[in-house]
C-alpha cells in the first residue's frame, strides 16, 4: 500500500459448505481436541444436532481474509466476537467495511454470516502506509 491511498475493501469471500473434514483439519492444525468439534455423540450431549466448528476456525477464516488483503505485517489489532455456532453445511460469507483512519491506522470491520445471519464479527486496526 502506498502513502495516502485509502483502503478499499475486497470482494466478499465465500467459504463452504463447511465439512467435517474442514473442522478436523483445523483441530489438527491448532490442537483443539474438544470432542464437541469432532464427536457427534458429544455434540448431541451438549444439545447440538452434530459437531459445530470451533470459534477459532471462524476467527482464522476472517483473519486470513483480512490479511490476504492488507498484509499480515500491517495488522496491529484484531478482536473477534462469537455470535452464533457454525454448523456442518453452513456457507460462510466473509465481508469487510473500511472505517475511520487516524494516526496511520485504519479501522476495519469484518463479519462472517450464514444465510444473512452474522455468526462472527471482528474489529481490526491496520497500519496503512
Amino acid at each position: 500500500m502506498t502513502a495516502g491511498t485509502p483502503l478499499v475493501a475486497p470482494d466478499a469471500r465465500r467459504i463452504g459448505p463447511v465439512t467435517r473434514t474442514d473442522i478436523v483439519r483445523f483441530a489438527g492444525a491448532g490442537g483443539d481436541f474438544n470432542p464437541l468439534h469432532h464427536d457427534p455423540d458429544a455434540a448431541r450431549a451438549a444439545g447440538f444436532d452434530d459437531v459445530i466448528a470451533m470459534g477459532q476456525f471462524q476467527a482464522g477464516l476472517l483473519a486470513g481474509y483480512l490479511t490476504d488483503w492488507v498484509g499480515v505485517e500491517n495488522l496491529r489489532r484484531l478482536e473477534v466476537r462469537f455470535r452464533a455456532p457454525v454448523r456442518l453445511g453452513d456457507v460462510l460469507e466473509l465481508s469487510a467495511t473500511v472505517g475511520e483512519a487516524a494516526d496511520g491506522l485504519t479501522a476495519v470491520s469484518l463479519v462472517a454470516s450464514v444465510g444473512g445471519v452474522v455468526v462472527v464479527s471482528a474489529e481490526a486496526s491496520v497500519e496503512a502506509r
Binding site: A29, G30, D68
Partner: protein, 138 residues
C-alpha cells in the same frame, strides 16, 4: 472462586514456529497469501497452535470453571510483529480479569486470559486475549 488470582500465571509453553505448521494452519483457514504457503510468514492467528502444548481440561479445572458450561465470548490479538518460521517463542498466559455478573438466568463468570508471546531476544511479538464465559448452572 478461582485457584489462580488475577495476575497469576495459568501456564507457560515454549515452542518454535515451524514452516510445516505455518502451511498447515494457513490451509486450515483458507488463507491465500503465498508467503504462508511457502512456510515463511505465519498467519495472524497462528498463536492458536499453542493448543497443542496445553492441557485444556487441566487449566479449566485449575481456574475453578465447569468445562461443560464454558463458552469463549471473544478473542483478540495485539501485534508488534508477525511470527516468522524459526521464531522461538515463550507464551505466558495470565489471568487478567475475573468477574461475576448477574444475568437473567443466574450468575455469569467472565475470565479474561492474556497470553504474551516473547521471542528469543526477549521482545513481545504479540499478546492474545480470550474471554471465557461460564454460563449459570441450570
Amino acid at each position: 472462586m478461582t485457584g489462580i488470582p488475577v495476575g497469576g500465571v495459568v501456564d507457560t509453553v515454549e515452542f518454535t514456529v515451524e514452516a510445516g505448521k505455518i502451511r498447515e494452519f494457513a490451509r486450515a483457514t483458507f488463507t491465500e497469501d503465498p508467503r504462508h504457503a511457502a512456510g515463511e510468514l505465519a498467519t495472524a492467528t497462528h498463536s492458536v497452535v499453542t493448543g497443542h502444548y496445553r492441557d485444556q481440561r487441566g487449566f479449566v479445572a485449575r481456574l475453578g470453571l465447569a468445562i461443560e458450561r464454558i463458552v469463549v465470548g471473544s478473542v483478540s490479538w495485539e501485534y508488534e510483529r508477525p511470527l516468522i518460521a524459526g521464531d522461538r517463542l515463550v507464551a505466558t498466559r495470565r489471568v487478567e480479569a475475573d468477574t461475576v455478573r448477574e444475568g437473567r438466568t443466574g450468575a455469569m463468570r467472565f475470565v479474561t486470559l492474556a497470553t504474551s508471546f516473547t521471542d528469543a531476544a526477549g521482545e513481545t511479538a504479540l499478546v492474545q486475549r480470550e474471554v471465557l464465559i461460564e454460563r449459570p448452572a441450570s
